[in-house]
Symmetry: C2
Subunit: 369 residues, 2 copies
Amino acid sequence: MAKLLTKKHGLITNSLISAMFFRRYQRMLTVGIQQNSNPQASVTSRIAVGRSLKNASEYGTVSPTQNDMTKKPKVAEISHQNAAKVLANYDTILLDCDGVLWQTDHVTPIQGIPSVISMLRDQGKEVLFVTNNSMHARHEYLQKFQSHGFDAAQEDIFCVAYASALYLQKTVGFHGSVYVIGNEGMSHELDLARINHFGTGADPDPVYNSIRDLHEIHLLDNVEAVLVGYDKHFSLNKLFKACSYLTNHTCSYIATNSIEKSVLLASNRRQPLTGAIVDAVTSASKRTPTVLGKPHPLLFSCIRAARPHVNPARTLIIGDSVPSDMGLAKAAGIDSALVLTGASTLSTLGNFPGLEPEFFLQSLTSLIH
Amino acid sequence: MAKLLTKKHGLITNSLISAMFFRRYQRMLTVGIQQNSNPQASVTSRIAVGRSLKNASEYGTVSPTQNDMTKKPKVAEISHQNAAKVLANYDTILLDCDGVLWQTDHVTPIQGIPSVISMLRDQGKEVLFVTNNSMHARHEYLQKFQSHGFDAAQEDIFCVAYASALYLQKTVGFHGSVYVIGNEGMSHELDLARINHFGTGADPDPVYNSIRDLHEIHLLDNVEAVLVGYDKHFSLNKLFKACSYLTNHTCSYIATNSIEKSVLLASNRRQPLTGAIVDAVTSASKRTPTVLGKPHPLLFSCIRAARPHVNPARTLIIGDSVPSDMGLAKAAGIDSALVLTGASTLSTLGNFPGLEPEFFLQSLTSLIH
């Protein structure tokens, strides 16, 4: 814990963050909270750099969609044959987790992943993990990586629970409490960042019997933000508290992520995800959240704050979700590759005009050459 | 209980429902479920009759918005002076409950309501109660009316819990179970209609610890519908079950109502309502509900099924919500009056083009002349 704290606080305060970028980031956070709006547009304009748009045909592969140019975009496949040529253009590889490192059910392994991670590192690539999954803290990802046969440093992980803590910590003048709809992982990251928070775990109040009971539920006075992520204890009481705190328009409304509404665990089982919880809070509170996760580029800002040397023009994001991963890529001005082991298929690309990736690959193991 | 059962079954099967209308209603219900779409358009075309659009100036009142005709519609006020003249045009008065009979906090009385109800009945008007509040069964409304100083017959109450039971009962070939997100009132109405249902009350399964636990939660096989209303026990487990059952596309998705997202109980307390719960289920299940409540006209179809003599051209709906009550009025081709004791004010009329009521009144007591 002490080591984590030292590393994290070092990460925020030391020279990794240039003074100029820090001021911009701080201002961006403030503006985001004050306006309570999606800060995507303004952030994009700040972080976007000249983008290296690559010609798909450069890599000599034939797109399976090439025969139907009127409907589908041309996307180059990364295969064992051309992987070396593609990777030569990138120094930093951002890897989504669910559907990329393991299947979307969160548990089933994808064969060969440890070899891919090793190979990329052997080639001197910087491998970072970027995920919208708000269930876990970074140390939990470390354990999960190990259980799947590879290691990482905590600093390589940019999950939205960590981003939430970072966002709240950087907010100028934030002295109050945060009401959190979230799991233990979120609580852990907030503790590390010394954010005063409450709400995680089972709601302590009984289910009410009458409207009068709702008037008597104890609400705190100094709640300055409501942070909503995935919460397996989500309940109507929590929804009541979140939207009651949000009646105060100086109370910020922050969501870890919102695009993921549910995932099919089996043919007859669908797990609700953070997006559905956020939709309920948004609906009941009549407020609009500031969203930290993909496709909103605050997560990439977080990476750049910690790693200013990351060059967007030499960065590739590999993910299984067109709206989430390709969405971030377009917003942040970086290249992207869709991996077909998860949420999106090539045939769905036509549903997301403007979000076509530069590449697709059958599996992350296609990178091995 | 026996009395209620007898009354209700009598209401469904006896000669109150003409054979022709019954067949249409049954077909409409089937189509609604099969298409899983909002049946508003087709229903409206069937139930709408020549509408008696009245000239606001006919009643000799000056609209407070008349000086700014470019922005706001002209709406006639019903006052003690012109109430008799207005009421002479109507035989049936449909009264919304929350915000009309009592305040929107559900508990605070509005003075003078019993006198209004008595006066309308003394004049031979048919007074019916039409509410989107899905918390209560009809017998609970009877108790609430009595506590506010007036009575009604159970047959005068068209609440969405009752409409849900009626809808499910009338669905051709419905033999399975209904998974219900709802309160005891809903359960009571479903019991009366002999609908096989489960889910109300606290969810019996513990909060899961891992994704594997979600795979092991017991799900029934013969669930033919998911019905979503207000549920003070709403939880992530319930959301998981609802959207798991809805993975079967032959399973119908029905919502009691959806337009009411939350209500401000006090300056710092906001109670989430059915609409927010429905939004979470819709979001996570990726399905679209068939909505029974206002502004969708199925509730008016239910009234006409039970009371075929109700003449839309001689009916006035009085409610406090422009989108809900005036929305139903426009969809069903009946006149409406906005009462200013609840959710909407005159200044919000401009936000709902096409939903302007014929009248407004400061309080229901303005009807007394």
